[in-house]
Amino acid sequence: MALEDICGFKDTPVHRKLKKSGRNSGIPLQFFIPTLPNSVPFNPRPSLPFSPSNHSVTVSRPFPLSHGTTTLGFIFQGGVIAAADSRASAGGLVACPAVHKITPIHSHLVVTSSGSGADCMLWERILAREIRLYQLRHRRCLSICGTAKLLSFMLHPFKGTDVCVALTLCGWDKEVGPKLIYVCSDGARLNGDIFSVGSGSPYAYGVLDRELRWSLSKEEAISLAREAVFRATHRDAYSGNKVDIFHITAQGWSQRKREDLKEEYYRDMERRIMFT
């Protein structure tokens, strides 16, 4: 891939002959392990002019990182809903009011990201690349559980460092149906029916716990997701601006048009005035 060539990363085969089942037809599982600056690399790379040597230098950041966001995902009878706000904050600054926090990986999987924005973008690309490589090598799509496990193993070397990603894989498996798995850089990998991640997540949980039922219709589920993100952005300073909603079914994912939560706020105000 282009990114690989430019950065000079080499795909290092890990655990040769890890799984020699009939399905894999003898090809060892390979995936990407970027080398940490302070560790000895598997294959000593040709020394680049700026390659970090064995000195450990912590770079002080010019601005504080913040992990403010509200993302959520839940399963219901009509599939999986994933929703997120669109604010990227750095300390008290709104660095960008129109970020995409939900990224499709393939036709039946989207991933919602929270944590450090830069880390999430990188790891989403890495994940998409690895899933595509797996598909090309083994002629089948990796299951959602397998994707989560792969991501978790790729993140493991960075446990204890400053890498901060918390991704929720929302997808539809051919065999199993709707699936929702939370993977984070601390090493957690959790299967579940409802997840909300980020600084606004407690606010979203209150709304979701109250009204989430299996038997919701598609429109009700979407409006529940929108309401939950709206309530979270109302109270949490680090979430806001717009809401993105994705709906994943057996036919794949579909995205709703982005909605500005300012409109929702004015509608809510009007409704209150009518009832007082």
């Binding site: 407690p202 949980y205 209150g206 709304v207 109250r210 039922r213 299996w214 109270r235 009832f275 007082t276």
Partner: protein, 236 residues
């Protein structure tokens, strides 16, 4: 009027002294005057034997029928700080009533509490109180870092974010008392469901021009089982 009759609720965020430091608390109980005579809490911090993160969920909001307040009843480690400040405030309000022949208004009580807490600003004392009163319905939030806010809706404690979203959805001025009670109960229930530090039962108080009434304490375990049954019926 007994000390316990005042419609005041405290939501504790965290506290400083460990369970064993009772004698130190006694030395704080002062003479009958203003906070300036209180000995300051010691500036060197005693290392605590275990981490002291407390939690609770309390909430209060105003509506056409007065003020509604609710709280869970799971008491983590020390309620000593809370109990202490409640007694101090109650005592000062009673003294004011005896000296001046009339009750202090809620905003006056809030100011008094805020001034009493001020010498402890910067120490590890942490008390947050939501004062609900009815000299005209009023609601004040007072915290030991100096905050004193008037408002129509407050929730305090580790479970407060979960409660806030439910309250934002449902609280309007025109609620009846029953509707307000059920929203408050639902909000505390949701918070106790998600927050590990809140739980057990919910206490609901209603303050109106006639005084305060306390509704019967309800165990949230029952609510949880009722909801599970409802979900099973819906086919979840």
């Amino acid at each position: 009027m007994a000390l316990q009759d005042l419609p005041i609720q405290f939501g504790q965020i965290s506290t400083v002294q460990s369970c064993g430091a009772v004698s130190y608390q006694d030395s704080i109980l002062p003479s009958l005057s203003l906070p300036t005579s209180l000995p300051l809490a010691s500036s060197q911090s005693v290392p605590l034997p275990f981490p002291m993160s407390h939690g609770t969920t309390t909430l209060a909001f105003m509506f056409q029928g007065g003020v509604l307040a609710a709280a869970d009843t799971r008491s983590s480690c020390t309620s000593a700080d809370c109990a202490l400040w409640k007694r101090i405030l109650a005592r000062e309000l009673r003294l004011y009533q005896l000296r001046h022949g009339r009750r202090l208004s809620t905003s006056g009580a809030a100011k008094l509490l805020s001034h009493m807490l001020h010498p402890f600003k910067g120490t590890e004392l942490c008390v947050a109180a939501t004062l609900c009163g009815f000299s005209g319905p009023s609601l004040y939030y007072v915290c030991s870092d100096g905050t004193r806010l008037q408002g129509t809706l407050f929730s305090v404690g580790s479970g407060s974010p979960y409660a806030y979203s439910i309250l934002d959805q449902g609280v309007q001025w025109g609620l009846t008392v029953d509707e307000a009670t059920s929203i408050a109960r639902e909000a505390v229930y949701r918070a106790t469901h998600r927050d590990a530090y809140s739980g057990n039962c919910v206490d609901i108080y209603h303050i109106s021009s006639k005084g305060w009434t306390r509704r019967s304490r309800e165990d949230l375990k029952e609510e949880y089982y009722r909801e599970k049954e409802r979900q099973e019926r819906d086919g979840m």
